[in-house]
């Protein structure tokens, strides 16, 4: 079905050109805007080219899980809003939304981005819960990398709300100046293989051609904290090594937008 388009893309790629004139391993322009929702404890808007996602952090107070009595809770959810793409429908999150949320969750959780011990107020009884919701506003491709960057930006923007004497959140009071304990800065770079070529930051038109993709979450130290292979094609060990190298090389340029 997409054979013509694919052939066209491949011919262009050999010349190292994309639909929008970019090089194969070049990102579109990235911008980050903080504090876009006064209702959230932290929020951010990330644009990668025409792709736009919002992320908001809501904090709550509750009991820790029994197996982690001294750690705060983390939840990541993604909503692929039907507003953002004519193909997205209303209703519970589908496969793509679930994958995006879980892969962002892994990057944040496994890098120990949030020092969850510091979210503990009273061991076994009271901890902060950090709820990150990511909403796509306009999908022109590469929601995954935009979602992760937006989640991290919203976390960095978050300020703890005031607590009442009964250990509840005082929503009427102004937020405190206290930030979340952000220790690490994982960003995700999705590298895609079409034919024998690698490229990043795909447009929606290019995403339909994906044979294999690898989302690599890279920390500020350059280490890898989460992976997700997607697409039906197979990858060799060499492919994976190359894709990780590409992600490591590009990750600092995404982090710089923060």
């Amino acid at each position: 079905m997409y054979q013509e388009q694919k052939a066209h893309l491949l011919r262009a790629l050999v010349k190292n050109v994309r639909y929008d004139g970019r090089k194969a391993l070049e990102f579109r322009q990235i911008t980050v805007e903080y504090g876009i929702s006064a209702s959230a404890e932290g929020s951010a808007r990330v644009r990668i080219g025409g792709t736009e996602v919002l992320a908001g952090v809501k904090l709550d107070l509750g009991k820790p899980y029994p197996d982690t009595p001294d750690k705060g809770n983390l939840m990541v959810n993604a909503e692929l809003l039907p507003m953002s793409n004519p193909k997205f429908e209303t209703g519970p999150p589908g496969e793509q939304a679930t994958e995006i949320a879980r892969v962002v969750d892994r990057a944040i959780r496994e890098s120990k981005c949030i020092d969850v011990h510091k979210l503990c107020i009273k061991e076994g009884e009271l901890v902060w819960g950090v709820n990150i919701d990511i909403c796509s506003m306009n999908d022109e491709g590469n929601l995954q990398d935009a979602a992760c960057l937006a989640a991290l930006a919203a976390l960095k923007d978050a300020r703890l709300p005031k607590m009442t004497e009964n250990n509840e959140i005082d929503y009427e009071a102004k937020k405190t100046d206290e930030k979340l304990p952000i220790a690490r800065e994982p960003v995700e770079v999705t590298v895609v293989k079409v034919g024998e070529h690698f490229f990043v930051d795909l447009l929606s038109d290019e995403e339909i051609l994906i044979e294999a993709r690898l989302t690599v979450a890279v920390t500020e130290k350059g280490t890898i904290c989460a992976l997700q292979k997607g697409g039906q094609a197979q990858l060799s060990v060499d492919d994976i090594d190359k894709m990780v190298e590409i992600a490591q090389k590009l990750a600092p340029s995404l982090r710089k937008a923060l």
């Binding site: 876009i36 006064a38 929020s43 909503e79 809003l81 004519p86 506003m137 999908d139």
Partner: protein, 233 residues
Amino acid sequence: MSVYSKRFDGRGFDELRSMSAKVGVIPRADGSAMFQIGKTMAYAAVYGPRDLHPKFMQNPETGILRVNYNMMPFSGHGNRVRPGGGRRSKEISMVIQNALLPVLNLKEYPNAVVDIFVELPQTDAGTRCAAITAAAMALADAGLEMKDLVCAVAAGRVMDKVVLDLNYLEDSHEDGADIPVAILPNSGKVTLLQMDGEVTREQLKEAITKAKDACKKIYELQKAALKERFVRE
């Protein structure tokens, strides 16, 4: 009865919060707009007319309008709003649809649907009105034939006063009423009217009359935002 001598945020009783509007904010959509009033912010995107599935919902006589109102999970006052919507957003979607439908002519599009998706990233009361104001601009941006725009604002009562454009503190005040109103600015007709709270007949009439006047300001802002999108120097 207690006297509401000064509004919680210092506004005059007939004064709207500061507003801004922008058309064409969602490039992928066929039409889109953003409307902000105070801290309440609504995005609306229009898709269609497009094929309607499932097929049994199709109407061979006319195209249909479908509205989906949604608060983002982090947009509420207080706790996180669970995604997926509930009875509240279902009802609001329906009344928004009824508020907008009178200005559209979808007879040209049998079996098709025009979808409007409304999303709110931050809220401070008056969300259905902001949604309608944004959606009307998005429909115009989509190039659909319209008999008029639609403007909406909440009027209401706090203690002894009729006020316009209630914020959260006023909306949730125990001695008061909230009356969202949608107006067709050219005919002056009402296409959405709801109320909760308690008022006298005189107060209701005063509230609707004031809402109608206030809608003129909203209408000017809508027209300016649409012109900004389409008129080139």
